[in-house]
Point group: C2
Chain length 594, copies 2
Amino acid sequence: MYFPSWLSQLYKGLSRPIRRTTQPIWGSLYRSLVQSSQRTNPEFNSFAVRTNTCGELRSSHLGQEVTLCGWIQYRRQNTFLVLRDFHGLVQVVIPQDESAASVKKILCEAPVESVVRVSGTVTSRPAGQENPKMPTGKIEIKVKTAELLNACKKLPFEIKDFMKKTEALRLQYRYLDLRSFQMQYNLRLRSQMVMKMREYLCNLHGFVDIETPTLFKRTPGGAKEFLVPSREPGKFYSLPQSPQQFKQLLMVGGLDRYFQVARCYRDEGSRPDRQPEFTQIDIEMSFVDQTGIQSLIEGLLQYSWPNDKDPVVVPFPTVTFTEALATYGTDKPDTRFGMKIIDISDVFRNTEIGFLQDALSKPHGTVKAICIPEGAKYLKRKDIESIRKFAADHFNQCSLLGKLRLECADLLETRGMVLRDPTLFSFLWVVDFPLFLPKEENPRELESAHHPFTAPHPSDIHLLYTEPKKARSQHYDLVLNGNEIGGGSIRIHNAELQRYILATLLKEDVKILSHLLQALDYGAPPHGGIALGLDRLICLVTGSPSIRDVIAFPKSFRGHDLMSNAPDSIPPEELKPYHIRVSWPTDSKAERAH
Amino acid sequence: MYFPSWLSQLYKGLSRPIRRTTQPIWGSLYRSLVQSSQRTNPEFNSFAVRTNTCGELRSSHLGQEVTLCGWIQYRRQNTFLVLRDFHGLVQVVIPQDESAASVKKILCEAPVESVVRVSGTVTSRPAGQENPKMPTGKIEIKVKTAELLNACKKLPFEIKDFMKKTEALRLQYRYLDLRSFQMQYNLRLRSQMVMKMREYLCNLHGFVDIETPTLFKRTPGGAKEFLVPSREPGKFYSLPQSPQQFKQLLMVGGLDRYFQVARCYRDEGSRPDRQPEFTQIDIEMSFVDQTGIQSLIEGLLQYSWPNDKDPVVVPFPTVTFTEALATYGTDKPDTRFGMKIIDISDVFRNTEIGFLQDALSKPHGTVKAICIPEGAKYLKRKDIESIRKFAADHFNQCSLLGKLRLECADLLETRGMVLRDPTLFSFLWVVDFPLFLPKEENPRELESAHHPFTAPHPSDIHLLYTEPKKARSQHYDLVLNGNEIGGGSIRIHNAELQRYILATLLKEDVKILSHLLQALDYGAPPHGGIALGLDRLICLVTGSPSIRDVIAFPKSFRGHDLMSNAPDSIPPEELKPYHIRVSWPTDSKAERAH
């Protein structure tokens, strides 16, 4: 059993295509909040002033004296109230007799979402009043004592309506949004899945969890790195985009098998569905080849996969970068459905259709097609028009067919066909990427397709000295349902080769990496690794519309914390120790005027 | 069994008082590298191109064909070499027959610390050549094939001598230092102990591992927070000193039981044995009181404690802040030994000794003593002199007696008495701290003794409105062998009380915390928590002289990464997107001249 049953039970109540229905309501989840009696469940009441959680009580608890703590979900006619904690809901009977007047007063006057502690007896509900939709629906609590732990002011809106509100409002009141079932589920599933990954790596396969610094030196071309001013004038730390250098240095240091759930930083300005800080499952090992890393990751995902989903089948299929582009028009294909791109040039070799003749007469000219299954049945005339328009709009983009494939899938799904089952998880390895790409600014120069530490494909090493553009790398990407969720490579462990690639091919300043080059000279073992994007992975597993739904306190797409209003102004005197001044845009205009 | 036996076996080879002998040599540890056959051991060879680790081979492997990867530790007369990996050492026989000339060439010519892969057969050593000090000492490897995976250039010094070198050199070549037994042991123990803590919190007690942001807003009085410029002119993130606000907001969000192995940041400039980034085991829970948190932590340490040490005995003793000061002269007493401070005023009430009369005649005047056990036997005349001088030097410091107690302990140990057994771990809770302290700059104003979210002692709430200086708090410190390794408190969950303390008593600008105050208004549950300093804890457990010895890539005491030379200069054009300029010290002089 991979997952605590209470969590998976909790999940089953979610309607299936959650990707499109993101407003689960506590009420609809009653039946799913089944507390299992399995011994693998954690003890939720240890060290606390309660005896039980609200959600765990059943007929088996009848007659027990319990103390519960929770939030008032709602109250009915001053006779009942429903108390909520993370685990579920329970009905509490408000005593009506004179001797319990003070208890009645507390429970009737406390506003909704106030926090109370109640003690009383678990009793059967009167016949006919059971609620079969509620896991605790056979019982209720006859209260003896009650205490108002904290009164709640009037909320900006009801907790159950949170998912319906604008995201800005949800982020501003994140601490209220977190009370929603969906956020509780997402964060708890994330915690559990990471814990299983740790067990697999650390306990089963001898990996060492090592923390690496985040205050580091800038990396070559690290234009997306946040800076941290130090107390030395003009000297800055950088917040690295990944522990890449450190994990390679750990291999040189003989640590052999490293992993870390690593916080990484990337300053991309405003980008939708990106976060300035994000988390990756960062892995590196020595004496390994590409297939070794792939098997490790397949086992990792299989082991940590939530057991309320279909088990992960391994090994994952593999396609080369070239095949992926030819077949799906993208290097991160969604393989939950077919509609592959097919070369039909031969069919038209002798055609008299002018534009096809033109295409085929050009060097490397081809005619390609996508077969839309039952397209004639599902697609309407205006759909065909929109496909035609889409194609025209994206004309001359080599990724056109890949985009068209997804566009057609969207259209088919709009018309009721299920192409991309949200409960299906289709993993795919993409391998044999090119080692270099032409630089965008200057296509005669090369840049690393991934990063400069990626080892060339063993068969292509000779090409580095003749036609480096043609060299393939030992980089591999892991794709899930059309999303890149991880990437890694076998690294260069030979200092001479690393120097040649950095200095001669990439024309980088090697001084900035002298420590790494020196380390490779001192007995670096062959090594390789991978990093999985945890936020994206959990987002896909939970079917969330955004990675912000699987992060407790995310930034807005502009990089703001809408709750606390970060980033914020800093008094000039607090900048002094760091020897920096703000260059106000007006200042710089004034300077230019000089 | 708490700890993988291979790790604890490995440990037992360390001579006991490691605090003082920090140069463990691989050679002396042979006998401790016993590979247990227990099934709890992780699989170290999965996914790798080796069949076995060097350190695991025994007579039970005789006749097996094995492939090993490792570093050449040393070579003897071109007939043997010793191969090392993280797990231990094994003897490899260099073949001498003509047909294996290429193998011989590789193994004889590769410099020490080169990385090789060898394949061959596990055989018995010839009679009389066994090495009982070496766990693999009964066997050797008859090599058939060998491959030089990476040649090593001449090292700046031998790996086994690393601990003897200056720390600056060790930090500069950290990737070599990491190959030392002690660093391997420290980092692996750290990983294991944290893993056990996670199991305890997550699997046994239902805590949720939640990541909180490190790019946040500055906190009141956050003068020690690093700044991170954003792309908005004049707006900065801060790197928080702890997830304090977030963990409280998680409680408001109903997450109930939170933990995180949290990266924290503190810019204290140059401080010995402090790091600009450090790690804490960060915990918060709802519906808990002080004793609940204490029991939780006692259980946590008991569960995660390395099993090569004496088990942790719970509950830990508790003293109040006042008692600690009176008895030990410090709020973090080392309770491994007695020598308590005793009030002997009554003995001297009628004394005629002038300076004692003087002391006793003053208000609150007391005479206190420390009894040094067998002092007369152990201490020499010059020791007494040095005690007298120490007392004179620290005259008028209220912590004098506490310091004197430790000074005397040092002296006794120099003379051969064992007072502070390095294998003894003496935990202590210190409770009932004052809630406020007078501000250093202006003693009429108050500042929080710990932080402004600390709840007052239930018996002292009325004092907040009359004599706040006298109010005790619900803060608790955990002390181990005279070091503070953790601290926490029950928090204020009442918005009105929090506002009163912030605005009226502390005179803080409450605007900067408006989100937290608002959160308390919306049904915040009673909650409390704690943070353990992981670096310090592991430092004490491993008996390391510095926290730098339990961190893979620490900064020097000036905050430098000596390996990569961080912090570093940044080209002015890379500062532009952040709207900052460097204020060079010469500039500011020029400005002052205006």
